[in-house]
């Protein structure tokens, strides 16, 4: 009697597991069978490893000629305001824009600045400068979160990577301009893939 009882119990347990696994598998299939879900999946991944990046032709044209068009989510709105109002001396370079273009770009940057972003890296950037009594940072590379994330990059390694400076994101982050900073996408010249 006891044996029969255990057999039934074991069988039902196995059955439950199988059904469970079956459900999980169909979920898995479902996730990849629809394009919408596919987008959502990628979106979710980007939220945790990237910042919001939306191409803006004016921004790319005007700001992306001299350096990569930094995704707006890499800086707080206050920083963008300071940058856009001092373009005549833009880190030692003259990057003046006519008023209409300046306004258009400013609107774009402020809309997608780190402040209200739901992307993790933007939020971390914001947390890192929260409560700071100094003027808003002008350089992404001065943000404490940025520095923390790059503390392993020695000057020697930077030189080897071929980057002109730490602001040359795409020397290592292959999809920086698309707002993607996943560790799996890091390739450093002379070293190859970067594994933390």
């Amino acid at each position: 009697m006891k044996t029969l009882f255990f057999s039934i119990a074991a069988l039902s347990l196995m059955g439950a597991l199988l059904i469970g696994a079956g459900n999980a598998l169909s979920d898995y299939d479902g996730r990849y069978s629809h394009e919408d879900d596919d987008d959502r999946w990628e979106h979710m991944m980007r939220r945790s490893t990237g910042v919001y990046a939306r191409p803006n032709p004016t921004y790319t044209e005007e700001c992306g000629s001299c350096h990569i068009a930094y995704p707006p989510g890499l800086l707080p709105a206050d920083s963008w305001r300071r940058i856009m109002s001092s373009l005549q001396d833009h880190f030692g370079d003259n990057a003046e824009l006519d008023q209409a273009t300046n306004q258009e770009i400013m609107t774009f940057l402020l809309t997608y600045a780190a402040d209200n972003s739901s992307y993790r890296r933007s939020q971390r950037m914001m947390t890192a400068v929260k409560g700071a009594s100094t003027q808003p940072l002008l350089r992404i590379t001065d943000n404490p979160y940025f520095r923390h994330e790059h503390h392993e990059i020695s000057p020697r390694l930077l030189k080897q990577s071929g980057a002109a400076s730490m602001s040359h994101c795409n020397a290592c982050h292959q999809r920086a301009e698309q707002g993607s900073f996943s560790e799996r996408e890091i390739v450093i010249k002379g070293i190859g893939r970067w594994d933390d």
Binding site: S65, C66, H67, I68, Q88, F91, G92, D93, N94, A95, E96, L97, D98, A163, A164, S165, S167, H168
Partner: protein
């Protein structure tokens, strides 16, 4: 002595003609401007700092390292075609390179030099 006013008038007329027709630049003068060095903010700067001396060659932004396409229309057909763009870059880059804006004459000469290459 009597000739002086005449010469002066001719000079003024020529200047006006140049201003009215910026296409009539002098390529030789343009080349001199292109390679001239200027001391700005304790740095020696020149057009060639980023663009190299040869307009047929691509350059490299001195600070960011970003590649700059050749300016010579002979090798880069889309170069120097957009009036607004030309003025924007002259304004920015003359100020950086020379510490002041370029005159109409200077811009015409530089354009002539770039187009002749």
């Amino acid at each position: 002595m009597k000739r002086l006013p005449v010469l002066f008038s001719i000079a003024v007329l020529m200047n006006t003609a140049m201003a009215a027709n910026p296409a009539a630049g002098n390529a030789g003068a343009g080349q001199q401007l292109w390679t001239a060095e200027h001391e700005v903010k304790d740095e020696t700067r020149s057009c060639t700092t980023c663009h190299t001396a040869d307009p047929r060659q691509g350059g490299k932004h001195i600070r960011t390292g970003k590649a700059i396409k050749p300016l010579s229309p002979a090798v880069n057909p889309s170069s120097l075609t957009d009036e607004k763009k030309i003025e924007k870059w002259f304004r920015r880059n003359c100020k950086w390179t020379m510490g002041r804006e370029c005159s109409v004459r200077e811009k015409a000469d530089i354009m002539a030099f770039l187009k002749s290459n």
